[in-house]
C-alpha cells in the first residue's frame, strides 16, 4: 500500500473508541479492501467527522501511514448516509460482520465493494431482505475464492435441473440427492435462482438460508456470528410480525418461524 494515496471511496464497517478523543475504525475501501485506521481527535466535542465516520455512510477518505494501522487525513461524505432502521439495520450489521470476519486485510475486492454498496441501498429500500442477503453471501464467497458451482452437478458436470433435488457435499459441491442422503435437501429451482441472482420465492428462502449457512460455516472458524444472535432476539421479541420478504401470499406461514440471517426457531431451542 502506498504511503500516501489520493481520496478513495470507503465505508466504515466498525468503529470503537480509541484513547480519549480518537476512533479506531475498520474500513472497507474501493481498491484497497479492508484495513484498520485511526481517526485522530474524531471524538472531540463538535468534531464534524464523528458524525460521518459511522457504518453505512458512503465516504471519501484519505489515509497515510506505513504500518498496519493507517491514519485518516481527510474525511468527506460521498452522499447521504444509507438510512437503515430496524430489521434492515440488523441486516446491515450482519453484512459488516461477515466482511470483518471473512475479508483478509489489504486485499482489494473492487466488485465486492460495489456490491456491498448496492446491497446496503437495497436493504434501505426494505425490499426482500432475505434474497439480498443470500446474494451478498454468494458474491462474498465468490470473491474470496470459495465459489461453488450451484448450477452444475459436481461429479458429472450435468446442469442442475429445476425439478431435481440436490444435497451439498462439503468439499465437492452439489450432488443429486440419493434416497439415503441425510443432508439437507435443496431443490434445483432454488439453486438456479441463487446462481442467477434471481429473487427467491418464499418457499425457497428457507432452503437457500440453510445452504448458505453451511457454505459459510467452515470459513467462520467455529465462532458464531453475533448479529445472527441479535436478530434472533429481535425475531423472538416481535414474534407475531411476519418475517420481511415472506409476506407475499403463499409460503408465508412456512417461513414465519425463521429469520433472514439464517436462524430457525429450531436452532434456537438447541
Amino acid at each position: 500500500m502506498n504511503a500516501r494515496g489520493s481520496l478513495f471511496q470507503a465505508f466504515v464497517l466498525h468503529r470503537r473508541d480509541y484513547g480519549n478523543t480518537s476512533l479506531l475504525l475498520e474500513v472497507f475501501a474501493a481498491g484497497r479492501g479492508r484495513f484498520p485506521a485511526i481517526a485522530k481527535g474524531a471524538r472531540r466535542a463538535r468534531h464534524p467527522t464523528s458524525a460521518l465516520l459511522q457504518p453505512f455512510q458512503p465516504l471519501w477518505l484519505d489515509a497515510v501511514g506505513r504500518g498496519e494501522v493507517l491514519t485518516l487525513t481527510r474525511v468527506e461524505a460521498a452522499g447521504p448516509a444509507i438510512g437503515l432502521l430496524g430489521r434492515p439495520l440488523l441486516c446491515g450489521f450482519y453484512l459488516n460482520e461477515l466482511l470483518v470476519r471473512l475479508l483478509g486485510r489489504d486485499d482489494p475486492h473492487d466488485p465486492l465493494f460495489a456490491f456491498y454498496h448496492a446491497a446496503l441501498t437495497g436493504l434501505a429500500g426494505g425490499d426482500d431482505l432475505e434474497s439480498l442477503l443470500r446474494q451478498f453471501e454468494i458474491r462474498l464467497l465468490d470473491e474470496l475464492g470459495y465459489a461453488l458451482a450451484l448450477d452444475v452437478e459436481a461429479d458429472c458436470d450435468r446442469p442442475v435441473m429445476p425439478d431435481g433435488v440436490y444435497v451439498l457435499v462439503p468439499g465437492q459441491g452439489m450432488l443429486r440427492a440419493q434416497p439415503d442422503d441425510r443432508a439437507e435437501r435443496v431443490s434445483g429451482a432454488t439453486l438456479l435462482a441463487l446462481a442467477q441472482g434471481d429473487r427467491l420465492a418464499p418457499h425457497q428462502l428457507r432452503e437457500a438460508r440453510a445452504l448458505l449457512r453451511r457454505l459459510l460455516e467452515p470459513h467462520l472458524g467455529g465462532r458464531p456470528l453475533k448479529s445472527r444472535a441479535l436478530f434472533r432476539r429481535f425475531a423472538v421479541a416481535s414474534a407475531p410480525s411476519p418475517v420481511p420478504g415472506s409476506g407475499s401470499g403463499q409460503g408465508a406461514g412456512a417461513s414465519r418461524d425463521s429469520t433472514p440471517l439464517g436462524i430457525t426457531n429450531r436452532s434456537l431451542e438447541s
Partner: protein
Amino acid sequence: MVDALRCLPGVGPKSAQRIAFHLLERDREGGLRLARIMADAMTRIRRCRRCRTLTEQEVCALCTNPHRDGGLLCVVEQPSEILAIEQATEFRGLYFVLGGRLSPLDGIGPAELGLDLLDARLGGGEVREVILAISPTVEGSATAHFIAESADRHGVSATRIAHGVPLGGELEYLDGGTLALAFNGRRRL
C-alpha cells in the same frame, strides 16, 4: 505505582509519574485518603437493582424517591448522563441505564444492556412513556428501535429526544446528517 495510575483515563506515562511523585513527596495524607476512599468505593458501589445506575444501596436514591414520577422513564447509556440530565433539565421521572449500545460486532447484545429488565419494567404497567436519550449513532438507533418495539408490545408510548443544531452553532459548519435531522424535526413557531 506509576503503572497503576495509568489506568486512569487521560493519564499517560508522564502524568502518571508526576502524580506519583507529587503524592509521595508532598501529599502522603491526601494519597492515603484517596487510597481508602478508592478501596471503599470499588467494593461498595454496585448497580441499582431497578435502574442499573451506580449506587451504594440495593436500590438507588432516585428510584426510591417518592416525589419522582414513575410514569416517565428515561433510558440513557451511562450513569454520567443521568447527572447531566438532572442538572440541565426539569425532568422529574425515573431513569434506566443501559451501559452501552447494541453492537453485534463488539458482542454487546440485549443481555449485556439489561434489556430484559427494561422489558419487564415496561410490562409492569407503571410506565406511561419511555424517553430514549440514546446517542444518535447507528448502534444507538438499533438500540432505540429494539426498545421501541418492546414498548409498543406493552402499550407504552416511546419518544426520543430531539437531534439537531447545537445552541450557538452555525448551520454552515454542521454535518449534513445532523442538518437533515434538524430539518426533518422542525417545529411550528
